[in-house]
């Protein structure tokens, strides 16, 4: 599998992607591309299929009983739903951060960060320590936890836990980071810290972020995709979507008339 970084090229490409729970179509034939090292925000009212779409991209959707996907998703040049593709392998190249911070219970801060590496059998202490420091620095958490690495991950505050989860996700060096409303459970200060962090992260990784917070989408993203009732209504540059949307539903949503 060739996942070498190609500067500028397309990181992710969705082609007529539909997601189902049984017979119910949650995401309806969505197509868009995300360029390398770009931040794309997925916005739309609750239940519009944003999170489900996100979960199709790392093949997490199919883990729910009765859930299935149609269409084509390409990561770099790899069709991730291709017949010879192992979902476990795919997931290890795509990081994910969830809505609520979810460090592993019983794992120390250190063990949480390097969990993705220890799964793969990496045991070398010095290497793990190195990765842990690098990831925690990248997640802007190192200074706060460098003296308490052996403390339980759950002993941190909510905002710190979420940055710990970001460190955990980027420790395995993914080229794509999926974020499902990563700040919706956090206070404004923790939210600001994480938004700031995203600016640094996007230097190295492509980010697809689901958010309910339109200001957040405007602040951090390069592109915005607006979804409504499972359809992709409009996708465009952040400036264009927020200043002159072409679709009337998009305009209504971003001006707060519904949603």
């Amino acid at each position: 599998m060739n996942l070498g970084v190609q500067m500028g090229g397309e990181e992710l490409s969705l082609e007529k992607v539909s997601a189902f729970f049984g017979k119910k179509e949650i995401v309806k034939s969505v197509s868009f591309d995300v360029a390398n090292r770009e931040v794309m925000a997925l916005i739309g009212p609750s239940g519009c299929g944003k999170s489900t779409l996100l979960r199709c991209i790392n093949r997490l959707h199919e883990e729910t009983p009765g859930a299935w996907v149609r269409g084509r998703i390409q990561l770099k040049n790899l069709d991730i739903y291709g017949p010879a593709v192992d979902p476990v392998e795919i997931r290890s190249h795509i990081g994910m951060v969830f809505q609520k911070p979810n460090p592993f219970p019983g794992f120390s801060i250190f063990e949480n960060v390097v969990a993705g590496l220890t799964i793969r059998g990496v045991r070398k202490r010095s290497y793990l320590a190195d990765v842990a420091e690098r990831s925690l620095r990248a997640a802007a958490l190192w200074d706060e936890v460098k003296d308490i690495l052996k403390a339980p991950g759950l002993s941190l505050s909510g905002g710190q836990q979420q940055r710990l989860c970001i460190a955990r996700a980027i420790a395995v060096n993914p080229s794509l980071l999926l974020m499902d409303e990563p700040t919706s459970a956090l206070d404004p200060i923790s939210t600001a810290k994480i938004e700031e962090l995203l600016f640094d992260l996007k230097k190295n990784v492509t980010i697809l972020i689901v958010t309910h917070n339109l200001q957040q989408a405007a602040r951090i993203s390069d592109q915005v995709a607006f979804m409504y009732l499972g359809d992709l209504v409009e996708v465009g540059s952040t400036a264009q979507i927020f200043t002159k949307p072409t679709n009337v539903q998009t305009e209504n949503y971003i001006t707060g008339r519904f949603g």
């Binding site: 790392n58 009983p65 994910m96 979810n102 592993f104 219970p105 019983g106 794992f107 799964i119 991950g153």
Partner: protein
């Protein structure tokens, strides 16, 4: 009363006494009910203490490590029964815990949805079968099976200490087996709740790091459940320590201390059930009550220990 003032009543009505009087009656009723529990507990402690005093006055604390039990000669040592209880319970835990944890894990995470409820129901039904029925079933099913196993094992590996002595079928091994089956539903149903309480996102987070399902289960579900599993196992142990009827029917009922699982023996519960109806002397009765006291104390210690372990782990894990 503090909680009534703080939580139940809005500030404005706190000073009105007629509003509080009905709450007060409710509170007193609850206190009365709680008092019954405390009285019951203390009366058991006092009963055990006073009944066993004559025996302890004669034998002293050496009663608890005396090896000889011979009511006809007025010689009473409880060690064989303490030993029997611990051996059969430990054996039961060793056999039941992996099966219970495994089946609970299967039922909460892996089993197809249509299979989960019926199977869980079936396992819980095991707990509803009366102990004496287990005993009967044990005599007709477990004992012959154990005997065959013992004969075959001695034919293959010869006389090893753990399985030496005549293959009688009844004894520690049979009693441990029946106990294992009896405590299985207790451990499994508590474990099922423990695993069910682990958020799905933890499991998914492990998947997104590139874990296989088994690795994700181990990382996100099993490790988070360690305190809960320990609690479940303790509840099972509590049941095994005190279980009487089925054990009495299978353990052989001889005051023997032997390292062999083939050996017959007796447990604290079984000796009380066996000898109490025929106890002739006051001292014999007192001795049996003292065995009851020992059983009570050991159960109490096990429970306290397990609580301590649970708290220790929870704190260590940051819950």
């Amino acid at each position: 009363m503090m909680f009534l003032q703080g939580r139940f009543l809005p500030v404005a009505v706190q000073k009105k006494s007629e509003v509080r009087s009905s709450d007060l009656a409710f509170l007193m009723a609850l206190r009365g009910l709680a008092l019954i529990l405390i009285l019951g507990f203390t009366s058991i402690v006092f009963f055990l203490y006073f009944q066993s005093r004559p025996l302890i006055a004669q034998e002293g604390l050496s009663f608890f490590w005396g090896r000889e039990w011979s009511p006809a000669d007025n010689r009473f040592g409880a060690l064989p029964f303490i030993y029997g209880t611990l051996v059969t319970s430990a054996l039961a835990l060793l056999l039941a815990s992996p099966v219970a944890v495994g089946s609970a894990l299967f039922l909460t995470v892996l089993a197809p949805h249509w299979l989960r409820r019926p199977t869980a129901f079936l396992i819980e039904m095991l707990a509803a079968i009366p102990s004496v029925v287990y005993g009967l079933w044990g005599i007709f099913m477990i004992v012959p099976l154990v005997r065959t196993f013992q004969v075959d094992l001695q034919n293959v590996v010869g006389d090893v200490p753990l399985f030496s002595g005549p293959p009688l079928g009844v004894g520690f091994l049979a009693a441990g087996l029946i106990l294992a089956i009896m405590i299985l539903p207790t451990i499994a149903s508590v474990c099922r709740e423990v695993f069910g309480a682990v958020p799905t996102v933890n499991f998914e987070a492990a998947l997104t790091l590139g874990a296989t399902r088994w690795e994700a289960l181990r990382m996100a579900v099993l490790r988070a459940s360690v305190p809960g599993i320990l609690t479940a196992v303790t509840l099972g142990l509590g049941r095994a320590l005190g279980e009487t009827m089925a054990v009495t029917m299978l353990v052989g009922n001889r005051a023997v201390i032997s390292p062999s699982l083939n050996s017959v023996g007796a447990t604290m519960a079984s000796i009380i059930a066996n000898e109490y109806p025929e106890a002739a002397s006051d001292l014999h009765l007192s001795a049996l009550t003292a065995v009851g006291l020992a059983l009570f104390v050991i159960s109490l210690l096990v429970n306290l220990g397990a609580r301590w372990i649970g708290t220790f782990y929870r704190r260590k894990m940051g819950f």
